[in-house]
């Protein structure tokens, strides 16, 4: 898990000319995140939302290690908190037709049980439609942290920076290896 955050920061480093992490280390994480907060408007980060009755019915907790993108415990959903776009007419990397892709996202690091590798996953919300309550509401929190680490906070609507902020569902897009 510490490895996860380090990996995240390392990757974010590459995204800025000045090296956000060095900035973070010298002037504090707040500055880093302030920078990231600007940066992500064009890029990474992700969407997270609360659980509800379908979560409640699941009993809560657990680890995502499965192989079915239609099921809550699919390995890529290790830090997903929301309804599954795969059940709502979208796909693992695609919002359903007529929705908007979130312009900001959060990333998680999830282990693929098939190859044993850790992958960086971008959880994008799909926006501008009412919540897809026909789908399962899933909640896993591997690497999730409170809002002072906004980059890894999943209890918030990541449609926040879109023109339509309605939350519909969440995808889990592979953006690379985490190692």
């Amino acid at each position: 898990m510490i490895g996860f955050l380090d990996a995240l920061l390392a990757r974010l480093d590459r995204m800025t000319e000045t090296g956000a992490r060095r900035v973070a280390q010298t002037s504090g994480r707040r500055s880093f995140l302030a920078k990231a907060g600007t940066m992500i408007l064009g890029g990474v980060f992700l969407p997270m939302l609360p659980f509800d009755k379908s979560f409640a019915n699941s009993g809560g907790g657990g680890v995502a290690t499965g192989s079915d993108p239609l099921a809550c415990d699919y390995w890529r959903y290790c830090a997903l908190d929301g309804t599954l776009c795969t059940q709502c007419g979208g796909a693992i990397n695609a919002c359903p037709p007529g929705s908007q892709g979130s312009s900001v996202t959060w990333v998680g690091t999830c282990r693929n049980p098939d190859d044993g590798r850790d992958y960086l996953v971008s959880y994008n919300d799909c926006c501008g439609k009412s919540i897809c309550s026909n789908a399962s509401f899933c909640n896993f929190n591997e690497g999730e942290r409170p809002g002072y680490r906004m980059a890894v906070f999943n209890d918030i609507n990541w449609c926040m920076a879109n023109t339509s902020v309605g939350y519909h569902c969440t995808v889990a897009v592979l953006v690379g290896l985490a190692e």
């Binding site: 590459r14 995204m15 037709p97 007529g98 892709g101 190859d115 309550s133 026909n134 953006v175």
Partner: protein, 377 residues
């Protein structure tokens, strides 16, 4: 389509893959542009205080294709080709209070996108979803919205202009039954008559009124009507099928017969969208429950009955417990879709080779208050 974090994606190429297999490739984050082709099933999930949704399922498997969002207390209408959908619903500034708008939203089904909207007079019936509360004319020029203030009227929307043409008073009447061709429609009235209207010189005017074809005090008609050739078929609380011809815009009764005469068990029709007609099978289907009593007319079904309207006979009965709404698709091999108490929509293959039997071939979960559904090619 949005390409996330190219920087990160490129970096993946530098990762240390001392593994037997290549790592999974990076992916692009996209928004699917259109739903997959094929016949669809639309279910309206009404909300009583937030957004209602039109859910679109593939008709073959009931896999979900997506949704279209409306407001509260809504009605749904899907144009017969399935290319355009409509929702009429209520939006309030503070969701449960504050300034209120009644809105007709017009959606492109292929992209599940609202194309336009028409602000309606704030009089639309904030009712449960029923087939005949939101209709359009056969020529596709007008959409008709049932109003209740509680005085009854119908708002007529001119689709080509995208504006409200007029509000037509229809005191004491309810339901909108479009003519088979042109722009006219009928409505059903509390004195047992049906009245027809059609446009003349830019306004809708009354064309004709039947004598009373039913007595609501004796045996009321359900307001969900099904077109059967040149007739509408209406079902009564006590189990009659009442046929009304609307040829030339002049409604008249073309016959009444009972589905339950001589049948033991106190059977009666019941539910919400409780009748459907298949022109392909030439059969009328009705939700039926036994041991009926005053007030049981919305009870979910125990059986589905098949009625041959030509011979006026019930030609099949099959168990169908817990369903309160259903429809039948068109085509050589129609499928039947029912909404059940268990908050599911269930797909059935229909076999009428000997009586009536159903085989379940799919199901999907529903949410909200789902009373209305429509199947399109």
């Amino acid at each position: 389509m949005i390409r996330p974090i190219v920087g990160i994606a490129l970096f993946a190429a530098f990762a240390t893959p001392a593994w037997a297999q290549d790592p999974l490739p990076e992916e692009e984050f996209i928004v699917k542009q259109a739903i997959d082709p094929g016949p669809n099933l639309f279910v309206y999930q009404e909300s009583l205080d937030g957004p209602g949704t039109i859910v679109v399922f593939g008709a073959d498997t009931l896999s979900m294709k997506g949704t279209m969002t409306s407001g509260a207390f809504g009605q749904m209408l899907v144009e017969p080709t399935g290319k355009t959908a409509f929702a009429q619903s209520t939006f309030m500034k503070r969701y449960a209070y504050g300034a209120m708008e009644h809105v007709l939203q017009i959606y492109d089904v292929a992209t599940l996108t609202p194309k336009s909207e028409v602000i309606l007079p704030p009089k639309a019936a904030m009712a449960l979803s029923y087939v005949n509360l939101l209709q359009h004319s056969a020529d596709g020029k007008y959409v008709f919205v049932q109003n209740a203030t509680p005085a009854s009227s119908i708002t007529i929307v001119d689709l080509s202009a995208g504006t409200v043409l007029e509000e037509l008073p229809t005191p004491g009447c309810w339901g909108i039954y479009p003519a088979a061709t042109g722009a006219g429609f009928m409505t059903m009235c509390g004195d047992g008559s049906l009245m027809s209207y059609a446009p003349k010189d830019g306004k809708f005017v009354e064309v004709a009124t039947t004598p009373a074809i039913f007595d609501p005090d004796v045996d009321a008609l359900f307001t969900t009507g099904m077109r059967v050739g040149g007739d509408y078929a209406f079902i009564s609380f006590k189990g009659d099928v009442s046929l009304v011809s609307d040829a030339d815009g002049v409604p008249k009764s073309s016959g009444v017969f009972s589905m339950v005469d001589g049948v033991e068990g106190g059977w009666a029709p019941g539910g919400y969208q409780m009748v459907a007609y298949s022109p392909d099978l030439k059969l009328l289907f009705v939700l039926m429950h036994s041991k009926s009593y005053e007030g049981s007319h919305k009870n979910p079904a125990e059986e589905l009955w098949a009625v041959d309207v030509a011979t006026k006979k019930v030609v099949g009965r099959t168990p169908f417990a817990g369903f309160w709404s259903f429809t039948v698709s068109s085509g050589a091999k129609p499928a039947l879709f029912g909404i059940s108490l268990e908050m599911k929509v269930v797909r059935f293959d229909i076999d009428v080779s000997s009586g009536l039997s159903l085989t379940q071939t799919g199901e999907a979960g529903l949410t909200g208050y789902p009373f209305l559904l429509a199947a399109t090619p």
